[in-house]
Symmetry: C2
Subunit: 355 residues, 2 copies
């Protein structure tokens, strides 16, 4: 049995606490299979090295079989200039590792439907979608800057740009995923306004020809923002550009009412991907031992499945989490009336017991 | 008393039905004050003139004191190339008339809280916000196109661009509006990624200095998409760029559960603005006499208030609509269990009775 190296970025805020929980789980389901290489990035890297991401950090990630990230950022670094902020670490890793496909499941955990912000009948019906967000293109990485016009008026600009290859590869990831799920793909764009969206739509339909079993639909982004609220159950897999995906995937996760449970994967064309909870570094509760470790734990399950095809181990983790929730154990963020919250470590212990 | 000219674009689908209702109301509250100049635009213009917007149509709008629009578009024109689609008429009018400020209220009508897609406690609490969307800048009007890279790979691009003047004037509109309402303004951007957002944020904070009574906050667009679902009551006035505003204002209107009631105004630096319901042309129910006329009727109220400072007349209309709803009258789109739907004309009659 091969041994894998995992670059581990604990990050800031609650990062170290939740990552340590996830590693306890990983060591239990796959004992001795992973060697951990700690990587410093984000706020902590700013404090130590003066920059959010060093070349050494990138190199360690690149030389690992995958990357596990807690969360980066916090108010301490919020007043720094843009290029020195903790989130630059995220953008840098995505680009340097070629992590072009961000996979964000948003499903309503039936035991937690009481936390769903939507009306009861929508929550009862439930939903289970995956948003595939393009992660290394669009206006996140296009040319940007400022200039002065003739009157001395400052102009700022950003460029949304996509090429054929970028669209084709993300479309394929989405079609493949839809093929393994409900066989429905909704491609979201703003083709009535943007040229990049028109190319997006053309290419997605071109790629669709190789996936005759998948029901493809197009939706405008403004309509998608409405449909998510109105009837989230209509979606199986959604694929969209970087900025639209940023907005819609956050909206979709909020709809579950339990962002403390949602994992994400950022994938490249090699095995090496990055896995992280979708929530942030929650500086307000950092160090208190009360953060919910589940999103990070199920991110590890995603990693086992996507990077190492250790599907059985992934399933064991997911089932242990489900059982723990079914047994009524809760951290503070997903508390029902009348239950007592567990801390990070106690919650992890409960999940370990189910393994 | 002055007489005003109103350019009237009935448009497509249910457009003619709802506009005719709105004009009956207008003639009742302001008899003899308005002369109507019919303008053909959108799908109907494509059918007659081969283009969605003619120079003559633009000229008539420009020479009027304001523009009332039903809705444009429909499946008939959906397969035409982009520059020939009905929605080009909208984009053209906005630019030609300099309608840089789109004002979109999203409030939960208490009598219709049962239609709110959010959980009961959120609906009970209610919400009442106005989204101020910049409407003639950003990636809607920036340079766009396609090129080929060295490998023959097609690249498409769009440019998000804002200058100081554009941001300053929309910020002022938003601050003025907040001053007349709850004195809270939330400016939404993506300043952690976009240069145009960083300029946006700088300028909004600069303009804020002239409005010391307004509580200004900044929010990232992905967070805003979440907060709208989580706690819409936190918002009073929101101001944002064209594309973000397109997405967030549609999300916010969906949260009311009754988009058939929501008006909008698109304002310039002159009195001449455009007023229209936020819903579309609903081709599926066109010509059936069942469309909800309320959004168009309250758009007329907005017009009276914003363009002609006829506040008393605006209020009369809004109160008549409220009373009609309170009396239990409903069109099919906002039907409660057990009520019988009224058609467009009958609903308009009921509102007229209240005037
Ligand atoms: C921190 C920020 C740059 C980032 C993004 O916009 O991609 C975050 O919102 C995310 O979704 O991971
Ligand atoms: C039809 C379309 C171009 C338009 C827009 O995106 O502005 C519409 O969605 C709107 O919000 O008025």
């Amino acid at each position: 049995m091969s041994n894998y190296t995992l670059a581990v970025i604990e990050g800031d805020g609650i990062g170290p606490e939740i990552v340590s929980s996830a590693i306890r789980i990983l060591d239990k389901v796959a004992p001795g299979r992973f060697t951990y290489k700690p990587v410093i990035a984000g706020g902590k890297s700013i404090d130590i090295h003066g920059v959010p991401l060093t070349d050494e950090a990138i190199a360690t990630c690149k030389n690992s079989d995958s990357v596990l990230l807690g969360a980066v950022g916090g108010p301490k670094w919020d007043t720094l200039p843009g290029h020195l902020r903790p989130e630059r670490a995220l953008l840098g890793i995505r680009k340097e590792l070629g992590l072009f496909a961000n996979i964000r499941p948003a499903r309503l955990y039936p035991v937690l439907k009481g936390a769903c912000p939507l009306r009861q009948e929508t929550a009862e019906k439930g939903f289970d979608m995956v948003i595939v967000r393009e992660l290394t293109g669009g206006c996140y990485y296009g040319e940007r800057g400022r200039k002065q016009d003739a009157d001395g008026n400052t102009i700022a600009f950003d460029t949304e740009t996509y090429n054929q290859t970028e669209i084709d590869r993300i479309a394929k990831v989405a079609f493949e995923l839809a093929a393994k799920r409900g066989k429905k793909l909704c491609s979201v764009d703003k083709a009535n306004v943007l040229e990049s969206s028109r190319l997006w739509r053309e290419r997605v339909h071109e790629i669709a020809k190789s996936y005759p079993d998948i029901a493809l639909s197009d939706m405008l982004v403004d309509n998608a923002a409405m449909q998510l609220v109105k009837n989230p159950a209509q979606f199986d897999v959604m694929v969209t550009a970087n900025m639209f995906g940023d907005i819609l995937s956050d909206e979709a996760s909020q709809l579950t009412g339990s962002i403390g449970l949602l994992p994400s994967a950022s994938l490249s064309n090699t095995r090496c991907g990055m896995y992280e909870p979708i929530h942030g570094s929650a500086p307000d509760i950092a160090g208190k031992g009360i953060a919910n470790p589940i999103a990070t734990i199920v991110s590890v399950a995603m990693m086992l499945r996507y990077a190492f095809t250790m599907d059985a181990e992934a399933e064991r983790i997911e089932q242990a989490v489900d059982k723990t929730l079914q047994a009524g154990f809760r951290t503070g963020d997903i508390l029902d009336n009348g239950t007592t919250p567990l801390g990070t470590k106690a919650m992890t212990d409960k999940i370990l017991e189910q393994l």
